[in-house]
Symmetry: C2
Subunit: 465 residues, 2 copies
């Protein structure tokens, strides 16, 4: 809560912004509430005001005013983050970048593009399609590319194409002092100094506001085939995914749904011909011959691990239906317990430990009495839990937190991470502190160096000193 | 030059280190001279002393003493860097890590390893081979993995396997305050906070001493085939490389040697059956069917661009001979002008501009009257120039510098970088300043935050304030 002096400074800053942005400035409670949360269960913590920016220079103007008056700045894209990254723990100004939605350049010959931060991944892919290109990072939600960079998003295609870490060539950012800086460039590789592109990717708006991005894109493969395979056991499914990666098969997607999640999806997405069994969804990219060879190899591994026959989806329409169902797992799971909220969490572990870690987590779920389907980008050793809870029931919330903590502890014990792709936000502060005890003092030092007044998305990633 | 007070502090620090390290501490002039330079033309600037460390804790002890007495610390691996990264511009202590050469863990099932910083890439590959694994980053020199991380090394395999940026999962580093910190981890991906692993990779020892690394490794492909193809024109060779990448062929290596470099290699490495023509060296990795398919696609592209028949090397022995010749280009080029020194430099550009940039550079070479063969990792848009000069001839040095500057300016004009893989060191301070004018103030801020007294490899990457 701002004290008197600080309060007057904040009001002064808001007045300046109101004057400059006119109808693109709002303090309406509904607008503020909508900008104070992501898609997760974390209760909204609204900003004091929302400003819609259309250009990098406008973001710079907002940050300059906020820096002068020590007012928090929280960037807002599509509002789909999952760890409370958008909760304005100390109010401030939410900078809405959704109208910065221009695709600035498409260099088909170089497989790179320049976009404003508010472009969503589906918008970019729709612009790329007729040039035979696509942007592979797919976290499920139709997030903005700026938000995806800020949270180091990954998703279903990461096993082959990497994460935002690997596909952002450079960024333009408004830094905490209000100046505009450009990091990285168009070259595929560079040894020219400190990699601040990678420092900003995953920094969740705490070091600056990413306003433009240079991204690597990829040619749409000549052949794409998707297949679904049910297994007699969860272990058989996970082992198949592990062996696929270990064999070096360049699979484009390998997704695990446990039997509870499959049951939910069959009901929610009206899937026909599938059983409520542990299931892998695969996608193969390449030349027709390469796709056939990959599929044959993986089919052999699946059969040896208790998998059934592959159900193929080679037409784009069937594939889209299948992946739509995969993307809707969140809503499908929610439908398992109407009225419940979902605590969505994820960990990522060395793949050789995945079967053991998933199985132990499932035993914990059974013991907890909670409903919590498991979904995973298992080719990366990454899996998700959706804990369906009633936030008004303290005992249930305690059991959910104990289950969550055990899952993270188990991941850390095998050398994994407390968050494969959702980020830290306010949801995983304690967990990341456990994972990176010797690193965090240096994170803090960097934060203080770039943002001495701590105005950029305060309270995220690590607790204040 | 240290002033009186500083001089006494430095002598006190050296005395403490001499006492602690005994025979592993040296002030012998020959030892100091050898530790004051890399493989490039930059004249040696020796440290005041050299300390050989065997463990992370010993490096921490050295840095602690040096931090207390404000003495520069310059990490030393194999001494193969090319931009003066090892020149001790203010003396100080060279920390030799060559005896930190233990491979600590090989996790074949997870395709990751842990190594000490002094392990060289050939040592690691020799340890990995009987497990069917390899580490792909190959800058030519048998550098240490710590040095390769510090300079963000890449090389011939980067077009398929990425650079050190992509293959370092985590590091243990002694930070400028003497404390030991661990960044990253074993998970394939993580959204857990700031990516200090990527900040240390490429920081050239200016932010800390990397003492241990967690690396991603790869399965040795079932089939490997190398081919050499001569072209009627340089443009035809470059265009073939460009089209190969644009077609999405997952080629493992595609290396360009211009006719002068080929002439040098044929003489130096006694290659038989090759012509002194613009030439591409390819390597294909995959299943036998995938390798055959890739080779057929690339063969078609080469033929359409004036390329001759592929000369194949499928046996490991023939392949090694070929890549040995490729790695020896530096010495082969030096033999073109006995007694000359080589100024080795590289730039990296968007691949669609590569043919034009290389051709313009070759016109500049012709106009300069200098001897300067061109070699390139052209699949990444990265190429090298070796300027053979007599450093005692000021006019020649001026022409060499003008040629170098024009090459960099041309790369920057098309959105490229002044150094694809050699780093900045002291050799490219002005050029990187031109490339990253808005970024450097933030590099400085980070440097000051982590190393307020500026003891870690001073004078590198950017000029002091």
């Amino acid at each position: 809560m701002p004290d008197g002096l600080e309060h007057r400074g904040r009001e002064r800053a808001l007045a300046l912004l109101a004057e400059r942005f006119g109808p693109r400035f709002s303090r309406a409670p509904a607008v503020r509430a909508q900008h104070g949360r992501g898609e997760a269960w974390h209760p909204a913590q609204p900003p004091d005001a929302v400003v819609w920016c259309a250009r990098t220079e406008e973001v710079a103007a907002v940050v300059t005013v906020c820096a002068e008056h020590r007012v928090p700045v929280v960037p807002f894209g599509a509002g789909t983050s999952l760890e409370g990254q958008l909760c304005c723990v100390d109010g401030g100004v939410s900078v809405d970048l959704a109208s910065m939605n221009r695709v600035l350049e498409i260099n088909a010959a170089d497989l790179d593009v320049a976009v404003e931060a508010g472009v969503t991944r589906t918008q970019l892919n729709s612009d790329l399609r007729d040039q035979g290109l696509f942007f592979p990072i797919d976290p499920g939600a139709d997030a903005t590319l700026g938000g995806m960079a800020a949270t180091r998003a990954s998703g279903t295609n990461a096993v082959r194409y990497g994460t935002m870490r690997d596909n952002v060539l450079g960024v333009t950012a408004v830094m905490p002092d209000g100046r505009v800086a450009r990091f990285g460039g168009r070259a595929r590789k560079s040894a020219a100094g400190y990699d601040l592109t990678r420092l900003l990717v995953g920094s969740e708006g705490t070091l600056g506001v990413v306003t433009e991005l240079r991204l690597q894109v990829h040619g749409i493969p000549e052949a794409i085939a998707a297949a679904v395979c049910g297994f007699a056991s969860l272990e058989g499914a996970v082992t198949t995914a592990i062996e696929t990666v270990q064999a070096g098969v360049p699979v484009a997607r390998v997704e695990l749904l446990d039997e509870l999640q499959m049951r939910a999806c069959i009901a929610f997405s009206e899937l026909e011909g599938y059983a409520a069994a542990p299931t892998l969804f695969f996608e193969f990219h390449g030349t027709p011959a390469a796709v056939a060879e990959q599929a044959a190899t993986v089919g052999g591994l699946a059969a040896a691990n208790g998998g059934g026959a592959f159900a193929w989806a080679t037409l784009a329409e069937e594939r889209n239906r299948l992946w739509r169902a995969r993307h809707d797992v969140y809503y499908a799971a929610l439908a398992l317990r109407p009225g419940a909220q979902a605590i969505a969490t994820d960990v990522c572990v060395p793949i050789s430990t995945l079967a053991e870690v998933v199985s132990a987590t499932r035993r914990d779920i059974a013991a907890s009495g909670l409903i919590a389907p498991v979904v995973g980008h298992v080719g990366d050793g990454n899996f998700h839990l959706q804990l369906l809870v009633d936030p008004a029931d303290p005992d249930e919330m305690r059991r959910a937190e104990a289950l969550h903590a055990a899952m993270v502890d188990r991941a850390l014990a095998v050398g994994g991470t407390c968050t494969g792709e959702h980020g830290v936000g306010i949801g995983k502060l304690a967990k990341v502190a456990k994972e990176h005890p010797t690193a965090i003092p240096y994170w803090r030092a960097l934060k203080r160096a770039l943002d001495p007044d701590g105005i950029m998305n305060p309270g995220k990633i690590f607790a204040a000193d």
